[in-house]
Amino acid sequence: MSALGVLLRKELHATCTSPIAYVVGTVFLLVTGYTFSLTLFLAKVANLTYIFHQMYVLLVLLVPVLTMRAFAEERRADTLELLLTAPVREVWIVLAKFVAALALIVGLLVLSGTYAVVLGLYGEPDWAPIYGGYLGLVLLACLLIALGMLTSSLTENQVVAATTALGISLMLWFADAAAYLLPTPYDFIVLNLSLIGHFTTFVRGSLFLSDAGYYVTLSGLALFLTTRVLTAR
């Protein structure tokens, strides 16, 4: 197994044994399950649009809690020095932590897939928005995890890391509202930074490369900057 595999195994083990992961998972599934039940039995609507938007909000709130330990804890406990003096590239350390956190989120999304199965068994849902919604959530999770890891790499205080990541995510969320206040061409630029703007198209069942590209590009940029933070010493 390569050093990347060794690091990934360690991170997955750390994620699976962390109480934070279980708390985040429990809150996520309880809240979405509650909303799904309400939507199904009260509104009697066979789609997951409400659930996807609620998952969006939950991911924005919960992912910073999940990622705050990534580097802040390693820095506080001085174990980062141990990793960075081993013959491993900084990018592998970053990718291992990223994949481990993403695996947890994808696991939660897979568990939430039971809602889609229930809809499929008892109704005739439009599957395109469901597939699109899940793809959008995975891409959103990638970006939120990457942002959380970036802020975690900048401090050894986990609360500061989580709060900063949450602040950046909220600013991106409300970027479209801020765009209305700006003159051209800044309004166009800021509008295109909107987190929710690029997400809603997925939930509608549409797939645009520009939306996927937004998440992939910003995630890549955040991961690149995280790696740069680790190498700049």
Binding site: A3, K10, T17, T79, E81, L82, T85, V88, R89
Partner: protein, 229 residues
């Protein structure tokens, strides 16, 4: 085995090391001696590749620490002063993780763990979670992780810091027993420890190398240290 050429390290405007030039021979135990803030830890971190020099170069076992960092790091076992360990891991899991990270194969990892745990007397706690261990055992685990891949060079930052007298003696014996097979660079601010452990001593003060002496040829290290500093 180790060549340090005109190495300078700046932290912003602060000069932590100034024009350090030093060689360490194969199998030698070299101790960096100096008061707190003299640049000992910075120099050790430069050797491990954790920090990059602002100027100059460091060559470890033939590998430049900046241009060939992976190759250089494979030659080194490092015990930082803070004893950074993953408390949630068991001792054997931690040693396996560090061994695999440094390139040991699955087949050789178990043998390597058995070897180092015998060497630093860790057998009885191999399955214990690290967070439950005493300071002395944590020190042994930190040394074991540095030895697990049989490195050519060992770097100890204040290896006896916080240990009780028996543990200090055991650590000194361990370092002496490693001499010859490994090249050892350690830091200390305790004169008696240097006299009993090192072959040579490099005296640092405010980031400058004041002198390098052979311990056996320096009967009064205390007087030398006072005269230089």
């Amino acid at each position: 085995m180790i060549t340090i050429e005109h190495v300078t390290k700046l932290y912003g405007q602060t000069r932590a090391l100034r024009e350090i030039t030093l060689d360490v021979a194969r199998g030698e135990v070299l101790s960096l001696l100096g008061p707190n803030g003299s640049g000992k830890t910075t120099l050790l971190r430069l050797l491990t590749g954790y920090l990059s020099p602002t100027a100059g170069r460091l060559v470890v076992a033939g590998y430049d620490t900046v241009r060939q960092p992976m190759e250089a790091r494979r030659q080194i076992g490092y015990v930082p002063e803070a004893l950074p360990l993953y408390g949630h891991m068991r001792v054997c899991e931690f040693l396996a993780f560090m061994g695999r990270l440094r390139g040991l194969s699955p087949g050789t990892t178990a043998t390597a763990i058995a070897r180092v745990s015998d060497r630093v007397h860790l057998r009885e706690v191999l399955t214990a979670p690290i967070r439950t261990l005493s300071r002395g055992y944590r020190q042994r685990v930190a040394i074991a992780q540095a030895l697990v891949h049989s490195p050519a060079i060992l770097i100890f930052d204040e290896p006896t810091n916080g240990l009780d007298p028996r543990q200090i003696i055991e650590t000194r014996h361990l370092i002496r027993s490693l001499a010859g097979a490994c090249t050892v660079v350690m830091s200390s601010h305790i004169l008696s420890e240097v006299e009993r452990t090192a072959d040579r001593v490099a005296i640092l003060l405010q980031g400058q190398l004041l002198g390098v002496r052979t311990v056996a040829d320096t009967p009064d290290l205390e007087a030398l240290f006072l005269s230089l500093t």
